[in-house]
């Protein structure tokens, strides 16, 4: 049985981040960073990396087998909720052999199997696991959108093509297919490996994550979204005009709201349009705002939100300066109501932990490093690509499985499809 770990995203405890480790190797793994721990109980320990540098002073809860949430041996690290600290701890745990990040719902599954949960508890947790699955998916969408998304798509195509070429020489050996496909496969794999290595240690994903939270301003054209953004940022970031449809692309402005790192997105106004360029802008804006942590739905007096209002979203009425109603709202122009809005945003965000993104980044990094190891093994076998096609293919399969979470699931049908469209198979 593997030992698994994950950031337990305890809600409403923004100041503390809890990393939970469960499985037969839990105690010994954490002891490697903290020194000896009691079998069962609390202790305050310095957390150190292998070089001995101090990472954090943490409260450690250790649970004996049979006396924990999962029924297994468990250690919990209660860390200061800094993304940097959490990132280091997750990385250190991931580097211990036999430990891996938990899949969504895996702690609960283990608890269920060990008889530590009843049906009602499982049903109560199902929502939470769905939310976790969805949050992971959204994070992945967010990280792998735009330029990074194109990259992931390229990796996916290259991996499918490589696997298809190798599998074709195996499964269709008596057909009219090339015998030695190693030059093309080598090129494809080397390219993926290089790009992946850059991304694994690189900055782009980290930048996305360091943004902290994303807040999107959505609403119909000319409702005052851009004016609000400018007011929040205190500078003219978006072009504002009184003509509808001015903001065609997504404007991002990073700012610190009540001490929280927030990127505010100003999206194209939502309306029916014949202008293709504007339509694209609207679609991109919608996709991006759905992936944000929080949406501010701006409506005209008497209007309705154009997008679905999710839990925690904020609906405000705009332009209270020109309306003569007494309704609660804001004015980007005069600043009326803006302070109240900022505190509502920060209150909502504080209830969520800012470290989810960090955990996701670590998950992606481990996936890429795993894939790189497999790809390296495959590249080493290239000189014997014909004789060692079986183990080469196995390494590719393993690499693809590692990056499934990044590039989307690759099925044997994708590989067969590539083979049948490239080669004339069939005697």
């Amino acid at each position: 049985m593997d030992t698994i770990f994950a950031l337990a995203t305890a809600q409403g405890r923004a100041g503390v981040a809890v990393v939970r480790v469960s499985g037969p190797g839990a105690k010994i793994a954490v002891e490697g960073m903290t020194g000896t721990l009691p079998d069962h109980g609390r202790s305050l320990r310095p957390v150190r990396d292998p070089d001995g540098s101090l990472v954090d002073n943490a409260l450690i809860l250790s649970f004996e087998k049979g006396r924990s949430f999962t029924g297994e041996q468990v250690a919990e690290l209660h860390l200061h909720g800094s993304t940097a600290i959490v990132a280091v701890v997750l990385r250190l745990l991931g580097e211990i052999p036999g430990l891996r990040q938990a899949e969504a719902g895996e702690f609960t599954r283990r608890a269920l199997e060990n008889g530590c949960l009843d049906l009602a508890q499982v049903e109560g947790l199902a929502d939470l696991i769905d939310a976790e699955t969805e949050a992971q998916r959204q994070q992945a969408v967010r990280v792998f959108s735009g330029a990074l998304g194109d990259l992931a798509e390229r990796w996916r195509a290259a991996l499918i093509r490589s696997a298809a070429l190798i599998e074709a020489t195996i499964d269709f050996a008596d057909e009219d297919v090339p015998v030695d496909v190693s030059p093309e496969v080598s090129d494809l794999l080397t390219a993926v490996r290089t790009e992946m290595a850059q991304e694994a240690e690189g900055v782009r994903i980290a930048e996305r994550i360091r943004e902290g939270f994303e807040v999107a301003i959505v609403g119909p054209p000319n409702v005052g979204k851009s004016t609000l953004l400018n007011r929040l940022a205190g500078r003219d970031a978006a072009i504002t005009s009184e003509f509808a449809g001015t903001t065609r692309d997504i404007i991002e402005v990073r700012m610190v709201l009540d001490g929280l790192p927030v990127t505010v997105l100003d999206t194209a106004g939502l309306r029916q349009t014949d202008d293709q360029v504007e339509q694209i802008g609207i679609e991109r804006g919608t996709a991006r705002s759905l992936g944000a942590d929080l949406r501010i739905h701006m409506i005209d007096p008497g209007g309705h939100p154009a997008l679905k209002v999710k839990e925690g979203d904020i609906v405000v009425q705009s332009k209270v300066d020109i309306g003569d109603s007494e309704e609660v709202g804001i004015s980007g122009l005069t600043g009326q109501g803006v302070d109240g809005l900022v505190s509502r945003i920060s209150t909502t965000l504080r209830e969520r932990t800012a470290c989810v993104g960090v955990a996701m980044r670590e998950r992606h990094r481990m996936a890429m490093l795993g894939a790189i190891r497999d790809i390296d093994a495959a590249i080493r076998m290239m000189p014997n690509a014909v004789e060692q096609a079986d183990v080469l293919a196995e390494n590719l399969r393993s690499a693809i499985r590692s990056v499934d979470s990044l590039v989307g699931r690759v099925d044997v049908e994708d590989i067969l499809g590539e083979i049948f469209s490239s080669f004339c198979i069939g005697k």
């Binding site: 593997d2 947790l125 929502d127 696991i129 769905d130 599998e167 008596d174 196995e394 067969l416 004339c424």
Partner: protein, 622 residues
């Protein structure tokens, strides 16, 4: 007609039917094989070959379970080739050209000589249904044949339609009538039926072919047979010819595309992508100047040649034109034109992993009726359906084959979980545990299981037990030795000069080491027979990879052990989306592992099902 009571009735004497009837009879129940014509038993209606990649693996597995296909193919084999001989053993597949007549003869003998198996001549036109259960069949003369379970193997006969050019007529095979009433009965059950299509090339008279300028492909010098019980080919061995299509051929085909049944819009069924007609090849790969054609003799005393690679549904005169444009075939005489055939199949997601129809108790389906193609795929399903029909008749629990131990398991899991979008054929790439599921170790994987199920009889069991013991002893002996890196390097093995010592097995797992080199370091091992040492080497070769896969295998097996009862209620589980409830109700997964592979399944949904199962398990003993 004198009707003895039978436990299992198998309808159809093709590859699925023969294997089903034989498997059921091996477990000791009384079986009737119902077929129209005794001479049709064991007929190869498409190409005269058995095995290949993935397919050869299936034949080995059938043989490991004491089935008939491997033995019969060995008797009939006139050219044996081990595909991928230069690659690793995991991807090597035995293949043989078979003499059609010898194959039929050997299969008929196997069926005749099988204790407890009766051949009943007649047409099964309907099923005998009592209280919603299938309890036998109705013959064309109206008589009823009783049984506790029925295996239906209709091949391409279910509402079969044959197309040659723009002409079409109902037919199950060239010159044989289709089954229509049975199809109507299946309609009444409300089963999800659709159409598939397959094709054959024209058959040529070998005496009209000019072989002098053609490349010839002989079999292997050291033939690899199918059955673990066979040692050497019994028939005279021959070569196949190879020729190629050319510009002229493609031009003729392009000019006449509109007259092809496929391209003229006469066919609605979906054909396989990996077995395209020559029309398809010319259209889809227009820049390819030439396609290979294998000229495969259909038998030693038969002049018929099967030109593999040019299946077609063009009219006869166009077939003649394009065939004669090919080098060596300038004067070729067509004995039977190529044709396309369309037939009904049942969406295999309506089946349990025992190949029983979930909603029609007592009825099992095997072969092309489940959307597959190929003799080997059909035979493997026949074995599973026959075995489970016999078990049902004895009130025993069904047996499911796992993806982790056999290609049979991979195929059935793919079918019942994902369904089919084109005729399903086995490929080694479908098996995620390919390195463990090898043709060479099919007996190590399955023969003990087969013995427990009553499928494996004494002769094979003794042979297998002797081999298994010899392997175990040899493995222990070689494992007792250990060698330094220097010693191994001294034998010419490519190894880093580290300080570690390696056991004999670890040394054997190095990719370029041989048993001979290791025996040079430990001469006491030299008495291990070659057959055993070669098998040890094959097992050792993948040891590190297999170890890596073991975690996946273990977790899959754990999920497969969580059996979901067939009456499990998905509706009303709080938190389970309506969409997933629909999917689960349609597929009715047999285990939690099966459920996990359903498209769109989420971790929380699995957890919810698992929690319900746990509660049921706790509740049951009370």
């Amino acid at each position: 007609m004198k009707h003895r009571e039978h436990d299992v009735i198998v309808i159809g004497g093709g590859h699925a039917g023969c294997e089903a009837a034989h498997a059921a009879a091996r477990t000791g129940v009384r079986v009737a094989l119902v077929t129209l014509d005794q001479r049709g038993i064991g007929a190869m209606s498409c190409n005269p070959a058995i095995g290949g990649l993935g397919k050869g693996h299936l034949v080995r597995e059938i043989d490991a379970l004491d089935g008939v296909m491997g033995r019969v193919a060995d008797f009939a084999g006139i050219q044996f080739r081990l595909l991928n001989r230069k690659k690793g053993p995991a991807v090597q597949g035995p293949r043989a050209q078979a003499d059609r007549a010898r194959y039929r003869l050997a299969m008929q003998q196997e069926i005749h000589n099988c204790p407890g198996l009766d051949i009943v001549l007649g047409e099964a036109v309907d099923l005998n249904i009592v209280d919603g259960r299938v309890c036998g069949i109705v013959s064309a003369d109206g008589s009823i044949l009783h049984s506790k379970a029925v295996v239906l193997t209709t091949g391409t006969f279910l509402r079969g339609v044959i197309h040659i050019g723009d002409a079409s007529h109902p037919g199950g095979r060239m010159g044989e009538r289709p089954s229509v009433r049975m199809a109507e009965r299946l309609d009444e059950f409300g089963l999800p039926l659709s159409r598939l299509k397959t094709g054959t090339p024209p058959r040529l008279d070998g005496r009209s072919i000019d072989w002098s300028g053609l490349e010839m492909q002989p079999g292997d010098d050291d033939p690899t047979l199918f059955s673990f019980r066979s040692t050497t080919p019994l028939a005279r061995q021959i070569s196949c010819g190879i020729t190629h299509t050319n510009d002229k051929t493609h031009e003729i085909i392009r000019e006449n595309l509109g007259r092809s049944a496929m391209y003229g819009g006469h066919i609605e069924g979906i054909g396989p992508r990996y077995c395209p007609s020559i029309e398809d090849k010319v259209v889809r790969f227009a820049d390819k100047m030439s396609h290979q054609v294998f000229l495969e003799p259909e038998g030693l005393d038969d002049h018929t040649i099967y030109p593999n690679g040019i299946s077609t549904s063009l009219p006869r005169d166009v077939q003649e034109d394009y065939v004669r444009s090919i080098s060596g075939l300038e004067n070729a005489i067509i004995l039977q034109p190529g044709y396309a055939i369309e037939y009904d199949f049942v969406d295999p997601r309506a089946l349990t992993p025992a190949l029983a129809l979930r909603d029609v108790p007592g009825l099992f389906l095997a072969g092309q009726i489940n959307g597959t193609t190929g003799y080997e795929e059909a035979a493997a399903q026949g074995l599973v359906a026959g075995l489970n029909a016999a078990r049902l008749s004895q009130d025993l629990e069904p047996v499911h084959f796992s993806r982790t131990t056999s290609y049979i398991g991979v195929m059935i899991d793919d079918l019942v979980t994902k369904g089919v979008s084109e005729p399903y054929r086995m490929f080694t790439s479908r098996a995620e545990f390919r390195l463990s599921l090898r043709a060479d170790n099919a007996d190590q994987r399955l023969t003990s299981l087969g013995r427990d199920l009553g499928l494996v009889h004494d002769t094979r069991w003794e042979l297998f037990s002797t081999k298994a013991e010899a392997l175990e002893v040899a493995r222990l002996r070689i494992g007792r030795y250990s060698f330094s890196a220097r010693e191994l390097a001294g034998q010419g093995i490519n190894i880093n000069p580290d300080k570690e010592r390696r056991t004999g097995l670890e040394a054997l797992s190095l990719s370029d080491s041989t048993f001979h080199q290791i025996a040079s370091l430990a001469p006491e091992l030299a008495d291990i027979p070659t057959e055993i040492s070669e098998q040890l080497k094959r097992d050792a070769l993948y040891a590190t990879y297999v170890e890596r896969q073991n975690r996946d295998i273990a977790s899959l097996r754990k999920d497969e052990a969580d059996v979901i009862p067939s009456d499990f209620v998905y509706s009303g589980i709080p938190g389970l989306s309506t969409e997933l409830q629909l999917k689960l109700n349609r597929t009715r997964p047999a285990t939690l592992g099966h459920a996990a592979r359903i498209d769109g399944m989420t971790p929380s949904a699995l957890l919810l099902i698992s929690a319900r199962l746990k509660r049921k398990q706790v509740a049951r003993p009370a």
